[in-house]
């Protein structure tokens, strides 16, 4: 008697649904004026085989999902940024044997040695060799930055491709949702897709009345609405800023702040150009200072000193090279005392002379390297913190699913008290550690 059985099951489901609805409504009415209480809503889900069922949901769950996605997005950003900056930092060595600082030291030591023996051919050759070595050091650092920029651009492209692929998956869910409402209610798979998407870019998700999801990039640009996905694209032409565009071609780079896309864009558009500009400034500063000093002296034949370095703007570090002059052309003497060492002493004195922004050449390199090191350390710390914030958001989300919403609202007051006490302690501890630091300084 399948007809009667089906009818009985349908009625039973309907009654259970009504009971549940009443319970939710009573809860909402009883707590309508309770500060902080989140009203639960009732959603009827049509099911062809089981009749109508009712389940209550709360946007608290969506809030928890959103909190997790937000932290994942920040984690993605800092993780990507850290990876890129760490690569870049490898071109800014500061330890013993690091190409640029040791190259500078070697060159100026060679000038000092030349001053002691201005007409010694071997000393002159050492200067030329050191100049070539320093130029190669700059070239290597510039190449590292260029390769890191290239890798960052590839990461931008890869992130855009992943975003488009994941957006298409959400669009497919929406299509199913419209074809058979309720049959493909958001499940863990869909939420996992949304989390993956958050890892690549900052997104906002809005659930529409028909059950479909609207996904916006940076709160404004639609990635998915209903049965349509809007693929974004990237322009990563070398030598220009990397940009991201929406399906209509509008530049949305400024909106793509979070996730791996945001991190890669930050690296290629902000950090790496800054490092490159500093390196170029230093290369130009070294070449100009040395060449100017040489031009003020005379070589062994009494001719005006020839340049030791050459470069091409705007890529001074990448193009810095030894001019290839001969040892005899090195201007160690001043025009007033040919054969002497006055100009070699002036060249050696460049090592301690303020050259760029009031800093010596080595001092300027030190600030560059320290800045890059600080950026890497900050990105790493932020990434590590985000790892914990993601874990915390996930823990809170799972805790929420088994908690009575009414109890949760009441406990909010207790949480506030405990939070304020802990926050006060953090503040006191911060002051105390500052006092300890001040004692040492």
């Amino acid at each position: 008697m399948p007809g009667i059985t089906d009818a009985l099951i349908s009625s039973a489901n309907h009654l259970r649904g009504l009971e549940r609805s009443m319970s939710v409504i009573q809860s909402n009415v009883a707590n309508a004026s309770t500060p902080g209480y989140a009203r639960r809503e009732i959603v009827g889900v049509e099911s062809p085989s089981n009749g109508e069922t009712v389940r209550d949901i709360s946007s608290r769950d969506e809030y928890a999902e959103h909190a997790v996605r937000r932290q994942i997005s920040s984690f993605g950003r800092f993780d990507q940024l850290y990876s890129m900056l760490r690569l870049a930092e490898s071109g800014f060595g500061v330890g013993e044997g690091a190409a640029i600082p040791s190259g500078l030291d070697n060159l100026f030591n060679a000038f000092t040695a030349l001053a002691a023996n201005p007409n010694d051919a071997r000393m002159r050759q050492v200067v030329l060799d050191r100049a070539a070595q320093l130029a190669r050091g700059f070239n290597g650092a510039a190449r590292t930055l260029s390769e890191t920029a290239g890798e960052s651009r590839r990461q931008v492209t890869a992130a855009v491709e992943s975003i488009n692929r994941l957006a298409a998956e959400i669009r497919d869910f929406n299509i199913k949702q419209r074809e058979l409402p309720g049959a493909s209610a958001p499940d863990s798979g869909l939420y996992a897709t949304l989390e993956q998407l958050s890892g690549f870019v900052d997104i906002q998700m809005i659930r529409q009345n028909d059950g479909t999801l609207t996904v916006l990039l940076g709160g404004q640009t639609p990635l998915v609405t209903g049965d349509r996905a809007f693929p974004i694209s990237a322009n990563v032409t070398a030598g220009t800023a990397a940009t991201v565009h929406d399906a209509g071609g509008a530049d949305i780079t400024a909106l793509a702040r979070g996730g791996r896309l945001g991190g890669a864009l930050e690296a290629v558009n902000q950090f790496l150009p800054r490092y490159q500009a500093g390196l170029d400034q230093l290369a130009q500063g070294v070449a100009d200072a040395v060449n100017t000093a040489l031009a003020a002296g005379v070589d062994t034949a009494g001719n005006p000193g020839a340049a030791l370095f050459t470069y091409q703007l705007p890529n001074a570090a990448a193009t810095l090279s030894f001019t290839g002059i001969g040892a005899a052309q090195l201007a160690a003497a001043s025009p007033a005392a040919p054969g002497g060492n006055a100009n070699a002493l002036a060249l050696a004195a460049l090592q301690v002379a303020p050259a760029i922004n009031g800093l010596t050449l080595a001092g300027f390199y030190g600030t560059l390297a320290a800045g890059a090191g600080r950026d890497v350390a900050e990105a790493r710390d932020s990434r590590d913190l985000q790892t914990q914030l993601v874990a915390q958001a996930r823990a809170q989300r799972s805790e929420l699913s088994g908690v009575s919403l009414d109890e949760e609202a009441i406990r909010l007051v207790e949480y506030q008290r405990a939070y304020q006490a802990a926050a006060k302690m953090v503040s006191v501890l911060d002051e105390l550690t500052q006092v300890a630091l001040n004692m040492i300084r």
Binding site: E62, Q392, A393, Y415, D430
Partner: protein
């Protein structure tokens, strides 16, 4: 150094507690923080000596981390208490987001 090490160990426990910020964990973290405060007070009263900068900076880093976890824990609690609903218990609508969709549509 021992006091600093103990304070940092306390901070590590605070961070671990705040990763699962139940009300009980939040209260326990406050007790741990109070303990760390006492240790740093003791350290300061002994007079900080040069050479401890790295440990103190590491402690400050842990503090920043604990602070961030604490802020998010509270923001989460406050958020879920209000998410999507008006004070009168009516479903709140994100008008800004919807108007943007309307423009795109």
């Amino acid at each position: 150094v021992k006091l600093l090490a103990e304070a940092r160990a306390g901070m590590e426990r605070v961070i671990a507690l705040l990763e699962q910020p139940t009300l009980e964990a939040l209260e326990a973290s406050e007790r741990e923080l109070s303990g760390a405060v006492r240790l740093i007070q003791q350290f300061n009263s002994n007079g900080a000596k040069p050479g401890h900068e790295a440990e103190i900076q590491a402690l400050r880093k842990d503090l920043r981390r604990a602070g961030a976890l604490l802020r998010q824990a509270w923001a989460f609690r406050a958020g879920i208490g209000q998410a999507g609903y008006s004070r009168r218990g009516e479903l709140a609508v994100d008008t800004a987001a919807l108007s943007r969709i309307a423009l795109e549509g």
